[in-house]
Subunit: 141 residues, 2 copies
DNA sequence: AAAGTAGTTGACGTAAAGGTGAAGTGGCGC
DNA sequence: GCGCCACTTCACCTTTACGTCAACTACTTT
């Protein structure tokens, strides 16, 4: 049951790309932009679990529509060394600002969801009134 | 108190652009992409309240990171004529799919927010331990 | 009618986020 | 020591969402 999450496991770029669904080219691109910094074995990139976690964060950020530059700032929050006292206020400001931005985004999201649910309801009502059968929960294809 | 929301009011492109914070160029671009279709007075564009509402939806979609093509699909859900029976199942599928996508996005958003709040807490803890004063709620310039 | 002010189309430019292809390198099997 | 494969860098190609002129038009003011 355990073992497939071996925290010492290393990945090649193609392993990683297949696992997360990104092309090797994209992963190298993220590195070129400073979002990743894998070790090397000779000339080949070698990724740790930590690198993998960062990559997943990058992809999530992209799903949320963030630019790579913004995602980099976010990752920098993770990397900030909490033993360096001077960084702490900056870190606090950074995370609070991102929190505020994301909460605004969540508001937009919920308004949009409400609108869509309203459309869904109106559609269902119209179908009922007009006697259109609901293809409800089809096991597709 | 009433009257400034006159639903018969019309807008020029620059009025509209200033009100919503988009450039005229952008607004024309949305039209070229089929997201807006204002009337014309001679050669000039004339926008109604309905056009304005659509524009606001476009901008909200952009804040959420959607492509204009996707936003167009969303607007088409609004426009779908519910009296045309044949469209109803399609409309239902469309809105349900978008709802599913947005709910996935909301999950991503909440995970990210949780992570940021964790960073914020850890930072606050570290500052307290190290005796760094909190610039808490500054009305900064 | 000339000038000014909005508005219009059209062509071209640009930045971000990659995709794509060329050309070279390193190690393995045999 | 040859072929093969995955890996590398380098350079250009593409799409999206506009910005930036440039030249034209249509009222309005004087």
């Amino acid at each position: 049951m355990t073992g497939h999450t071996d925290p010492n496991r290393l990945f090649t770029i193609t392993e990683l790309s297949e696992e997360v669904g990104a092309t090797p080219r994209a992963i190298r691109f993220y590195e070129a932009k400073g979002l990743l910094a894998p070790k090397r074995a000779g000339q080949n990139r070698v990724y740790t679990y930590r690198d993998r976690a960062r990559l997943l964060i990058i992809l999530r950020g992209k799903r949320l529509g963030f630019s790579l530059a913004l995602i980099k700032q976010y990752l920098d929050l993770y990397d900030a060394d909490p033993t360096r006292k001077g960084q702490l206020p900056h870190l606090l400001r950074g995370s609070r600002q991102r929190i505020a931005e994301l909460e605004a985004q969540r508001l937009d999201l919920e308004v949009t969801l409400d609108e869509l649910r309203e459309i869904e309801q109106m559609t269902l009502d119209a179908m009922r009134r007009l006697g259109v059968p609901e293809p409800d929960a089809g096991a597709g294809s």
